[in-house]
């Protein structure tokens, strides 16, 4: 496989690479690819989303096939392989949340934002995603904002309120 020809704009910053090296150091020298999840997370944090060239760059850095890194990036829904809007709302649609009304909330969000799951509003403000269990089922239903902030015990009113605050 030919090495990807990456120009500087696709490289990661020295800080990100240093963080990836910390991940790599956790595993045996000949198994760098074990650090792929951490490395993709760091790359996404710096670049906003994982475009194919970036995945290829990370794969190359970890000496693994690009398609193997792509498998990881497409398997876990916190990785964005499409450019997301400014605010990514990830609604949990696993069983406990669904029992507590996540299905209806999903329909409400889709209607309100005029987009489906996995889509972004035309103004680039919101992206709506389906999420997997976030490990706090007692607080169902819930969503994540931009992968990091969790909003629990959701109702349509709370959703309205949340969307209002996200400009």
């Amino acid at each position: 496989m030919a090495k990807p020809d990456l120009n500087d704009s696709q490289r990661l910053s020295a800080e990100s690479l240093a963080l990836i090296d910390v991940e790599v150091a956790k595993y045996p020298v000949d198994q760098k690819q074990s650090a792929v999840m951490g490395a993709l997370r760091i790359a996404q944090t710096e670049c906003g989303w994982l475009k194919p060239e970036l995945i290829e760059y990370v794969a190359d850095y970890l000496e693994m096939p690009a398609i193997a890194a792509y498998e990881v990036a497409t398997f876990y829904n916190m990785y964005d392989t499409q450019r997301p809007g400014r605010h990514k709302i990830t609604l949990c649609t696993n069983l406990p949340c669904m029992l507590m009304g996540a299905g209806e909330l999903g329909e409400y969000l889709k209607k309100k934002l005029e987009i489906g799951f996995g889509e972004t509003t035309e103004d680039g403000r919101f992206t709506l995603k389906e999420g997997e269990c976030m490990g706090a089922c007692g607080d169902a239903p819930m969503c994540l904002h931009n992968n990091h902030v969790m909003h629990t015990h959701l109702t349509t009113e709370k959703v309205d309120e949340l969307l209002e605050t996200l400009k």
Binding site: P52, E56, P65, I67, Y70, E71, F75, N77
Partner: protein, 791 residues
């Protein structure tokens, strides 16, 4: 290993500890339905079709991934097991389209077969079915990804056998898709095997698409005529036409795999370029004639020319019977001018060899080597399945060391490598030889006295001598010479040095045969030095001598002079200057320009014959279809020609008679007794010094022989891309060239303009231009000085 007593479906049996239920069931011939399990691939257990009932287990267990335990009782056909299997089948069929009538896999589909036994007669599924976008995997593999059941065999094949993960399983759950990264084509030279592996119609053969149904095809056994492995084939025939080629399983040769070259070359068999009628050139015009007229014309002409002015040349891709009769005709006429080593340039070993060169070991050993040194070989492209075996060695046991003139990806771990200009191959090997002698505290062999030891030479020596860390002793070691080494102008030096390295290291020494019948051709005496099985015979000129100065007549068997020779320029000059040229070939090609008589002979599918592979395995095959038009098997043509020339001993009834005449009653035994790589008496030469640039040339994988060259699908692959001039970026800069610009290269008399491509893994004084390609046929020899300048 402990032996365990278990019971499957009421049958008691003993199995090794560590075996799975699937292994145990296979031992006693009990079939457990499965999709993702494959004996040559790792266990994924993701199709769940092989669920079986195990006594005391709280749920059904996958047979492929469950190790047996002592006293285990397994039920594969119980109501419980079958109900689990039926449930899995119901899930698999939910998203599988019901398009068997238009699916190429129909009739040979595992899913279709198992659905008969485990599928419901109607579906309970009411919702919308999944549709998956097609992927373009290149010219060889057609996709219908909606049919995919996600067994992941194709993904594991890439990772574990082909050595490169080109396909992956992206997405999750219902959105899972098999795909390449971005829009990459699949480029592995073994990629066609995923067609066989795919248990459904998701991956099928593109050239075979919609051509025939499996039940319309007759299956006939054959042997591959391309690389020196001699892969066993099952040729599928309909209406006297080869429709496709599949592997025939032979664990000792090709296992269950086939290289793409062997699988898809059949497309070149029935092209418009086929020669179907004997033709004679009369006053510059080609006239179709009868066989009788053509052969009488040839015999009369040959009788009128002194025998030592006739040269007989064949490619090493022709069956042994033909090569035997060709040399018998020549020697019958009193001349030993016969050779098949058209790409070789150093023939000095002819007087120093004690037998035919061969692999030095059975092919199967290549999968279990601990220490390897491979010199001058484009392993993956020249020997795709042997490269797979070496990768297997590397994965489990071995350290691979490479000395080569280019650094193409091997797709496996390389312990140490040295990339040098071709002229330095021998000197580099001498360095390793000296390092080995020092390591073993043995005298340095005479032939290596000029060798210079450096760190890499020492590292390689330590590796192949097994003196590295963690050595357990008793290791399998081997030194191999590749095609580039054999084509090299100082081949005799390289061979001698490799022999000494192997001797010092206690390693086997092998020559990786160049072509399907390289070993067979030497065994039947198609070389100027000796007759069949090394018997003394009339000596004559070798291929280079025959082609460097014109003889009066040439007999060419399957040769395309501009593509099959070491130096196409001088070869064509000589042949054009000859007064009488007979070309026996399945194709017209360029020979229309230089031949005087064209005789249509059968490609391997239309004649019986024998190939001797690189390990000395004698493999005979029968014709699978009738000859096209007036085409005849070449052994018959040569037999009649022998008779017309009034020579004795040309009364064979069939090709088996010819083989008996050539190799005796026990061909395998006689050939193996004749094979040895031992040479003696090579004297040391100072290393060749080339001041300027050197050419590095290899024969591209899909240009090796006449049939492959005409396979449309193979010619569309990335491996068949147009030749370019590859150079190191510093050389590009030094010569004032532009990457992807044009460069004018010149070797002997002729110049050629090619595209420049950067390859920073090449030595800095080398220009790499493939040989054996129509575009580069006007350049000179495969090695030696070359000049390059801006256009």
């Amino acid at each position: 290993m402990a032996t365990l007593n278990i019971e499957i479906d009421g049958r008691a049996l003993q199995v090794e500890s560590g075996d799975t239920i699937m292994d145990a069931a296979n031992q006693v011939g009990i079939t457990i339905p499965h999709f993702c399990y494959h004996k040559k691939l790792s266990i994924a257990a993701n199709c769940r079709m092989c669920l079986v009932q195990v006594e005391k287990a709280p749920k059904p267990l996958p047979a492929c991934a469950t190790p047996v335990t002592d006293g285990m009782k397994v039920f594969t056909r119980s109501e419980y097991a079958v109900s689990a299997q039926k449930s899995v089948m119901e899930f698999l069929l939910i998203n599988h389209p019901l398009d068997c009538p238009i699916c190429d896999q129909g009739g040979e589909c595992t899913l279709q077969d198992l659905a008969v036994g485990y599928g419901g007669s109607s579906s309970r599924y009411q919702e919308i079915k999944r549709v998956v976008v097609e992927k373009n995997l290149g010219p060889l593999i057609a996709t219908d990804m909606t049919r995919c059941i996600h067994c992941s065999r194709c993904v594991r094949f890439g990772q574990e056998i082909a050595g490169v993960m080109e396909l992956g399983m992206a997405g999750r759950g219902e959105h899972t898709e098999i795909m390449p990264f971005l829009a990459n084509q699949v480029a592995s030279e073994l990629s066609g095997n995923v067609i066989d592996l795919c248990p459904v119609g998701a991956l099928t053969s593109k050239p075979f698409r919609y051509k025939a149904r499996t039940w319309e095809l007759s299956r006939r056994h054959s042997i591959s005529p391309h690389d020196s492995l001699g892969s066993n084939l099952e040729v599928h025939v309909k209406d006297n036409k080869v429709m496709r080629v599949l592997p025939r399983e032979n664990e000792d040769v090709n296992e269950c795999w086939l290289a793409d070259r062997d699988r898809f070359s059949y497309e070149g068999l029935n092209t418009a370029e086929r020669l179907t009628q004997p033709m004679i050139k009369q006053e510059g015009q080609w006239v179709e004639v009868t066989w009788q007229a053509a052969l009488e014309f040839v015999a009369d002409k040959l009788k009128a020319i002194p025998a030592e002015q006739i040269g007989a040349l064949s490619t090493p891709y022709r069956p042994a019977e033909e090569l035997f009769l060709l040399q018998k005709i020549m020697r019958g006429m009193g001349c030993g001018n016969v050779d098949h080593r058209l790409r070789q340039s150093d023939f000095s070993l002819d007087s120093k060899a004690h037998g035919g060169f061969w692999l030095g070991m059975p092919v199967t050993y290549m999968s279990r080597l601990n220490r390897m040194l491979v010199v001058g070989s484009n392993l993956r492209k020249d020997h795709p399945l042997m490269a797979h075996r070496i990768r297997e060695s590397v994965r489990w046991y071995g350290e691979l060391n490479l000395i080569n003139a280019h650094d193409d990806e091997f797709l496996g771990k390389v312990h140490a490598k040295r990339i040098v200009a071709p002229s330095q191959l021998a000197a580099t090997l001498a360095g390793v030889c000296v390092a080995l002698a020092q390591l073993k505290e043995l005298p340095v062999p005479d032939v290596a006295v000029r060798g210079i030891v450096d760190d890499i030479a020492r590292k390689m020596a330590q590796s192949i001598a097994g003196g590295g860390q963690g050595s357990s002793g008793g290791e399998a070691r081997a030194v191999f010479l590749g095609n580039m080494a054999q084509h090299h102008p100082t081949y005799s030096q390289i061979h001698m040095l490799a022999q000494e390295v192997a001797r010092l290291a206690g390693a086997s020494f092998g020559v990786l045969g160049e072509a399907a019948n390289s070993v067979g051709a030497v065994a039947v005496g198609a070389i100027p030095g000796c007759g069949p099985l090394g018997q003394p015979a009339i000596k004559g000129l070798n291929a280079q001598q025959m082609l460097s100065q014109p003889l009066r007549a040439y007999l060419l068997l399957g040769v395309e002079a501009e593509l099959d020779t070491h130096d196409p320029v001088s070869a064509l000059n000589s042949i054009n200057a000859a007064e009488f040229v007979v070309v026996m070939s399945p194709y017209k090609g360029k020979s229309l320009d230089y031949a005087d008589v064209l005789l249509p002979i059968a490609p391997w599918t239309e004649t019986s014959g024998t190939f001797v592979n690189t390990e000395g395995r004698v493999q005979s095959f029968s014709a699978v279809v009738k000859p096209l038009g007036e085409t005849r098997p070449a052994w018959k043509v040569l037999r009649v020609l022998g008779n017309l020339l009034g020579l004795a001993g040309f009364d064979h009834n069939d090709s088996k008679d010819v083989l008996r005449d050539a190799l005796g009653e026990t061909p395998t035994g006689s050939v193996q007794a004749f094979l040895t790589n031992e040479i003696s008496g090579v004297s040391v030469l100072p290393p060749q010094v080339i001041d300027g640039l050197e050419r590095v040339a290899e024969v591209p994988i899909y240009q090796t022989d006449a049939v492959v060259r005409r396979s449309h699908a193979l010619q569309m692959t990335l491996d068949a891309a147009l030749p370019v001039a590859r150079m190191h970026s510093r050389l590009i800069e030094k010569l004032g060239l532009q990457e992807n610009g044009r460069v004018s290269v010149r070797q002997t008399a002729s110049a050629l303009t090619l595209k420049v491509q950067r390859d920073d893994l090449l030595p800095e004084n080398c220009v790499r231009i493939p040989s054996g390609h129509p575009l580069t046929a006007s350049l000179g020899p495969m090695f030696g000085p070359i000049t390059a300048e801006a256009v």
